[in-house]
């Protein structure tokens, strides 16, 4: 698990491998940090809207939704680096985050 390139393979393919490696890390980091946050924020927004409708008091709804949101973000971040395929890791977070956030934005506008 040593990442310094010079130790692994000093051959020419290294440059391509290194660039690819950096892209992978960059994409997954964006998915984990940015995508994960949007996903968490959107789920907090949705739970804050839905739980009171289901009969929970507003104060309780905020506590539940916020605690779950932080857990959602942490799980998303871990998932972003645990999944083998970079595309799956990125899309798996960005797509639901976009859908939830768009829905929350629309609901917020309607309210």
């Amino acid at each position: 698990m040593h990442l310094t390139p010079s130790r692994k393979s000093p051959a020419p393919p290294l440059q391509a491998g290194l660039a690819r490696y950096r892209w992978t890390i960059a994409l997954r980091s964006i998915a984990a940090i940015g995508g994960g946050y949007v996903l968490a924020a959107a789920s907090a927004d949705w739970l804050g809207r839905l739980l009171p409708v289901l009969g929970m008091s507003r104060l309780e709804a905020v506590a539940t939704a916020t605690m779950l949101a932080f857990i959602v973000h942490a799980c998303a971040a871990i998932w972003a680096f645990a999944v083998a395929s970079t595309r799956r890791a990125t899309l798996g977070i960005v797509l639901p985050a976009a859908v939830l956030a768009a829905g929350a934005w629309a609901a917020g506008g309607a309210a």
Partner: protein, 553 residues
Amino acid sequence: MRLDGKAEGLRQSMSWLHTWTGILLGGLLYVIFFTGTLSYFQDEISLWMKPELHASVPPATTELSAQAAMASMARIAPDASTWTLTLPTERRTTVGASWRPPGQENAGRAGLKRAELDAVTGEQITPRETRGGGFLYRFHFELHSMPRAVARWIVGIATMFMFVAIISGVITHKKIFADFFTFRPRKGQRSWLDAHNASAVLALPFHIVITFSGLLLFMATLMPWAIESAYQGDRQAYNAERRGGGAQAEQRAPRGPRGGRDGASAQPADLAAAIGPMLAQTRQEWPGRSVGTITVNRPGKPNATVELREHGSESMISRGASKRLRFDAASGKLLDSPPARQPSTASAIFNVMVVAHLGDFAGPAVRWLLFLSGVMGTAMVGTGMVLWVVKRLPERRKLGHTPWGHHLVEKTNIAVIAGLALATAGYFWSNRLLPFDMAGRTGWEINAFFIVWLASLLHAIVRPARAAWIEQCIAASLLFALLPLLNPLTGGHGLYTSLQAGQSSIAAFDLAMLALAAIFAAIPFHMLRKQRRAAAATAPAAPLAPASTSVTP
């Protein structure tokens, strides 16, 4: 995450994630853990840093303190609209008084005046100007000299990284409980890994709770979206409900006792005489609990009321909802008291987390347990940072030079781990050495903290890593060890006096400084012993260069 793009198992990818989340923000997390751990003893630090208050020794019963303070307040602030008295506890030697002078009713906290009163005589004591433990406490989550919101975001992001590092660290370890019982000393990298694992696993529940609750404490900054959606953006309504709506409203507009109260009782009540029976009645109402604060509304008027508030709260679940009793000052009769709240499940979990983080509820035993867990957390972050460097030593040797990234982490480690200790010691020393009435005294104490820290960084840059570790740790150890001596020499109650007077909170500070001195002495002791052993082992053969350039403690 492999350079060659090959697939890897969950444990491998989590190990990668753990390493990089950890090292990216390791220095900041160390600072947060170190200052946060000290903040469990914020009151003790503040008390030590105001040696003028050491002379006040609380009497056996709080009645005496309360009576003396009431009599004194009648002289200091007879026409104030409220008095609030914080009675002495095992953590404070004096009566803390704050009052609102007439005409300041709507000035909020800025309209309050404060003083410290001797616990026996009620005399006003003027301590030196200092931020005390409050500086370290604020630094823990608001850093320094930057906008509050920016600092909270930086600390919040670091906390999130910490949360991810903890979870990925747990996944990485297949034998997490076996690791707990494994320590292989004097085995270089293995020992560092073992120490990192042991400090992580030993206090794992604490680490998880403290990190998660750190996020919750910042929720209004970091994750306000549920508040926004559930309350349609009305933060004030949310805050009012969280503080317990009804009780708050009543506190803001305290009703006096109803009915005309004229004739003989139109005189201001003698509060010093009235407080004793009230405290006695409170003791009957709350067996086993004690009174923390006394609030007097309209002290100089015939319709004054006295509210006695429980010290701390009986349960962690009802955060801040300590019990209260209200009395009519003139007759000593009990008035209707605001009811305590009963939170439900989600709020209860939330409150327990947050209260455990703040340590508000904690008695001495729990406070020490929290403190030791904090020490474990600090050690976990510190050993993790050192482990990163130690693990890469073979790589460095193979390369024949040190990559700049390794240099950066190595020097940062010294300036953070040893440097922060030095800076903290410098802060305490400057508190006692700067003149009492110096202009800008408070600011210079804080300047001393940063000047010492900067000096440590420069020293770490110019000296070889090994020498810098040894020299800075010895210096920190000496500075901490001498503080208990400096204390009685500069007007405080030294260990001998404080222990005899039963002032355990002053003694605790001195003892904690000795413990810190021991910890920072242990590091160079081990490094030098290792060097001697290495020298003895290699003496018959040709001296090996790499062994002597070994960089870490």
